[in-house]
Symmetry: none
Subunit: 221 residues, 4 copies
DNA sequence: GATTAATCGAGACGGTACGTCTAGTCTTTAC
DNA sequence: GTAAAGACTAGACGTACCGTCTCGATTAATC
């Protein structure tokens, strides 16, 4: 996963604050405050004033570096991922939380079921659920945030499925005319919708079934 | 589609306002104001004060009958559906806006593609898109509203797919062991996610492809 | 003391409600509710809705017969006086609560001290203090109510002092060129101001002193 | 007259706003708005929202520094006095609007008549009458405000009478056993009551008469 | 190591909207 | 037709946050 620390601003950007002088301590405190408040109170009751107060930070420090509550939370959440990835790496762990590729054991169905099971576990963990859900909701209504959310969080993960499906196509396990970018939605989107909209419960059995249906189709063979 | 007018309260409901004295004119005006404001300004900039002002109504009249902005919008949207349904019926129109069943011509793929194309058209119409999206977003974060949203708006439509799929099963066009409630998600959820999260554009060609993939599966036959 | 029951409206007053059909029970209940609420909550927290609720009466019944909260309280207070007077009469009591004349024992100073002591006692009784004070305050700011308050409550009492002082003049105890209407203010107004504005405490000793100073003057004789 | 600018808060007063950061411009604008609105609309129709709007100030700025509408008006009125006093001083004027002492020409009656005539003029000036009356009325009913009103506005003026009367006592023009604090009420309170309660008109002739009666007494000499 | 300039915590500011309360009017049903 | 009941429009209340602004007090880079 890419490091989401905001890149150093160009020096000609005269109105922007000087990134080199930025307080790392405050940044961390704001991330933690934002995430914990969203978990405790939910997104709508989390306020910028509240984040500033809990972080022991002036409001202006937030407004200086972020454009909105959603923006803070998005970065905080991205940072959470980076942290986890970094922690995994440091533990000498080869397969970190969000790997750069889906395992390819030759058995497409098993590989897909594996990742989806891991995703289910993550979605059921309140630590991820609350802020992730809050961001998703905001992105539904706020187009700009939504696009950022998709580009930075969703799309990279989906690309992994594209890669795996393409490999399967080359191995003759998926029909060559199938568009992988659409194909992945057959099992990813149902999970996403059940989780986001609570249309029905999610489980390992459920995602397993999705993979089976998607690979074999509904019509009799 | 069911009539969503709130049912008369039981007489023992002592603290609640008297439904029989409710002003129908104000109710209608509030629905219209809420929907038009959401379309014009978007959900977050739509305020209860604004709705009251545009509807020519006291704020208390809104607070008396609804618990939140989302609640107003949900009922307004449900009412919109009822109105459309009623209008269709009055026009002696057999196939109303949201039919009680998906057409069954014997050709499952064609029938599914037909409904999905209609859904795509609806989702691309700003008149529906804006409020629907706002409600969906709120439902993502507010569990109670979310469940109501799903129960009253989403689930009834999904049930139509269940029915059509079951008919197809009986006709031997869908494998008998397939669970229709899950099967329908193979083509419905991808569309939902693309629309809600803007992960990619939606079109008739896209939904047609979804139906083909779902029915035939991704694996070679 | 005059009976303060509002006089029957003239029949040509077409917009006014029909007095002959007025509910006496409601009127009494409103008076009692108004007075008790003012005593309990104070004037500003006493609301028309509150009076109606406690009296078991519709709001419109109050608006039909009175023009304002102050108006209700004024009549309620006048009625309180009437009731007391009537009660006194019925008890065969010659000297009722508010007599038609100040006693004339020949000793002007003693007579004045007597009435003033009685007045002090009344002003210290919360039952009278609270509503009386509320009315006075409202009258300070609302000129119309103020004039009614003075005409119906204050002036009749002051007239008794005028009468007593004139008698004293005829008896040669007060200089003939003195204007009794002004003279009475020398001892009545100080008491009124101390009570109304709380500039200093009131007591029998205080009013006794006032009478002495007023009769003998401040300058050495 | 003392300067009524609120004193700097003690540093241990942890929850209170920081006085040193207070906007002087807003304070002035609020005073002016409050006074002008009371003159134009009267006290009851003057609202905090109205004051904020006319002053071009957020409501919270009022609530931050004052506890009630009456509190705002009281300070505004005190400030009005301070301003007048300051203006007088700056004009090199020895005898400012509200002098620190009542003139002592040796003629007690004349001196008293002088101040009282000036007071009558002030009470008849709508610029002072309206807010002063509003505050007095509120003080009648709201004990806390009443005590502040008396302590800051009324008592300092009354003290001047006490001083003058004591001087007169030493000069043998007033009986030594007379209590000046009570004596002054013989001419001050009647004027106050006529003005406050509108029991009768006020004029220079009237206050002259009051002084004569009070000094010489009503009884024949 | 001293200078200097930007960031920092803090919080007052002008505003907007909240959800509540009451005013005074209007409507319905019962007597 | 008056009454009780209570829903209605209207708008002020006092609170909570918004996003901007100023204020010293750090603090980090430059001299």
């Amino acid at each position: 996963m890419a490091d989401h620390t905001p890149p150093p601003r160009t020096p000609d950007d005269s109105r922007r604050p000087d990134v080199s002088r930025r307080s790392e301590k405050s940044r961390r405190a704001i991330y933690e405050a934002a995430l914990s408040l969203v978990v405790e109170l939910g997104y709508p009751k989390t306020t910028i004033e509240g984040i500033a107060a809990r972080a022991g930070v002036g409001k202006q420090t937030i407004y200086r570096w972020w454009s909105s509550k959603a923006d803070v939370l998005l970065e905080a959440f991205l940072d959470l991922g980076d942290q986890a990835a970094r922690a995994a790496e440091e533990a000498g762990y080869a397969g970190e939380r969000e790997p750069y590729a889906i395992a390819d054991t030759g058995d497409l169905a098993a590989d897909l079921k594996g990742v989806l099971r891991a995703t289910v576990d993550e979605l059921l963990d309140p630590k991820y659920d609350r802020p992730y859900r809050a961001l998703a909701a905001e992105g539904v209504v706020d187009e700009e945030l939504g696009r950022t959310f998709v580009a930075k969080l969703l799309e990279p993960s989906l690309q992994l499925y594209v890669d795996r499906l393409r490999a399967a196509q080359e191995a003759g396990q998926v029909r060559p005319e199938v568009d992988p970018r659409i194909a992945l939605e057959l099992f990813v989107s149902p999970l996403a919708q059940r989780w986001l909209q609570r249309t029905a419960p999610i489980s390992h059995a459920y995602t397993d079934t999705l993979v089976d249906y998607a690979l074999n189709g509904l019509a009799p063979r």
